[in-house]
Subunit: 348 residues, 2 copies
């Protein structure tokens, strides 16, 4: 694809920005006036019409119907986001608002995540969503076995960064106190520094190579670990402010809003759409059909990974109509993802 001429870029940019602002298909007259104001040059509507024709031939814009103005296509938005959009910058008052939300101590990780989702939604005026962090990529610091009554064992593990994961397991047979504390010491020796994701295989490997004298110990340890770390921890999503999307004029249409809500309510589909996105730092944008999901063809996603100790632990972002203020939203999502990471690091 050969690149666009300078003036075509200008026209495309104006079409995108005015369309995003006004929802009205943009006509040549409007652009002509706008051009005068922005670039001091003089261009007649007819000239603009010619440029528009070129842009339309190359699929950057389209007409909803004859005798209407032009509207950006997915490709047009994409070009805008990649090449035309002003450098994303978070305005100070937004930064201040976000900072204030994270200021006071938050006791539950749920609260933190849900609050983040709400921040995204309020400041973007779209739907905000946060996939709950997974600590699979963090290293184990210590593990603690506590008997609860006679029947149950509470397994608590703490990661390097101070996160706690606890679960209760049934014990088939009663393990004496002394045995338990030996097992506990053993687990800590074996597993300190191992990634939570690798604990299973680590123990399984060691069990195979183990001498007979240690086999029993390994076996007990493995059993405990197996039960207390469910293999595929189902990940939760916090979604806030879907009503904002509903309020967009393009979703007045009943059929469209129905489809949208079907999607937003299915956590699995949402997960698929935004979880696989690239690992590069900074925000990614998926525009319209780029994500291949017919039901969401009128929506765009702006997402970013968030990190703890430079390890990716989750994804967050914003869902809105294709017609969105990409520059504002991209900077917001990027900014919030960093703040959430920091908040998690400072958490305990």
């Amino acid at each position: 694809m050969q690149d666009l001429k300078e003036r075509q870029k200008q026209v495309l940019q104006m079409i995108v920005t005015t369309y995003v602002d006004t929802i009205n298909p943009v006509g040549s007259r409007t652009i002509s006036k706008f051009y005068q104001k922005c670039y001091q040059g003089e261009l007649s509507p007819a000239t603009i019409r010619n440029e528009m024709h070129n842009l339309e031939e190359r699929d950057y814009i389209e007409q909803p119907h004859t005798s209407a103005g032009r509207v950006p296509t997915d490709k047009g938005y994409r070009y805008y986001v990649d090449c035309l959009m002003p450098e994303p910058k978070v305005p100070p008052h937004v930064a201040a608002l976000v900072a204030r939300e994270y200021r006071d101590k938050i006791h539950h990780i749920e609260t933190l995540v849900e609050r983040t989702s709400k921040i995204l939604s309020t400041l973007s005026e779209q739907a905000g969503l946060v996939i709950f962090p997974s600590f699979e990529q963090l290293a184990l610091k210590r593990i603690e076995l506590t008997p609860i009554g006679r029947q149950h064992l509470l397994v608590v593990c703490v990661t390097n960064s101070g996160f706690i994961q606890s679960s209760m397991i049934d014990m088939k047979e009663v393990i004496p106190e002394s045995e338990l504390s030996r097992l506990n010491r053993f687990l800590n020796q074996e597993l300190e520094g191992v990634l939570l994701a690798d604990i299973h295989t680590h123990l399984a490997d060691r069990l195979e190579q183990a001498q007979d004298s240690l086999r029993a110990l390994y076996k007990a340890a493995h059993a405990i670990v197996l039960e207390s770390f469910p293999k595929a921890a189902e990940r939760r999503i916090a979604l806030e402010g879907s009503r904002h999307v509903l309020e967009q004029p393009e979703f007045q249409n009943f059929e469209k809003s129905r489809r949208l809500f079907k999607m937003l309510e299915s956590k699995e589909s949402l997960m698929n759409l935004i979880h696989g996105t690239s690992e590069h730092p900074g925000a990614q944008v998926q525009i319209g059909l780029e994500h291949q999901c017919q039901d969401m063809r009128d929506c765009s996603f702006v997402t970013a990974q968030y990190r703890v100790n430079e390890r990716i632990v989750g994804t967050l972002g914003v869902v809105g109509p294709r017609r969105m203020h990409y520059d504002r939203i991209v900077s917001l999502v990027d900014f919030v993802s960093r703040r959430l990471g920091e908040a998690l690091e400072k958490w305990l």
Copy 2:
């Protein structure tokens, strides 16, 4: 309010049921035919019109406009729910569906609650909601202090019914192992059988009466309890299937759906609406403006408390348009509330 005549009841009942089924204001002709089918009697449209006139004068039904059929008012629905509705009965296939959802072991309480909410939503074809259980009204069985590293203390408490609540607290100063286990034993002696809600005041009272020798111990215990049981545990709500309400014809109207979603997204308002409801067993119904909330004037709530060991621990229910199948929904909500209670009891 004097009661209705038998035939008026019949007419009102037919108006409610056919309106709920069809969304169309019900005319005298329709009722006349319906009457023939149900009661074998013969009544001309004109007679029905007279009865309708009476019912309208007494505010049980109203006309959207002259020359339209009749529609039940809040008062009309209320009379239907209180006096006319068939005895709520859960059809066997619904019971089976619900039972299946609770059959396999569920590891997290979040999963259990969210699944319940989804059940309510799917089977009612409305929005389902469950307020997370609060264990404040359950008695403490044991409490366990575990040091994590040198900085933190994990406080785990188990209720009579086997529920776990754990929280991590910062320690200002390092407490030696022996001191800690003494404290632990002490806490268990003091607090076994006390309601979670009363733990604070219980310890505070004892502290005041304590002899000097025990003062230090009480003080430490109180400090720990204060930090690990946040005073007002903010309660979460699981809400599923709001899209169903959106799909109802009466919410096609943009302004109405906007108002509805504003409400549904504000957990606090929802909480206020359904939390205060009566403690009687079985489902309660709030119809239209009965709940005094203008933003929800077109909605009804069907809610029920759910219990663990006969103690109320939470509320669940269904939100939908005023025009809903009250008999079906009431039986469903009542049924599910009992099943959730049982599931929680059998939980560990």
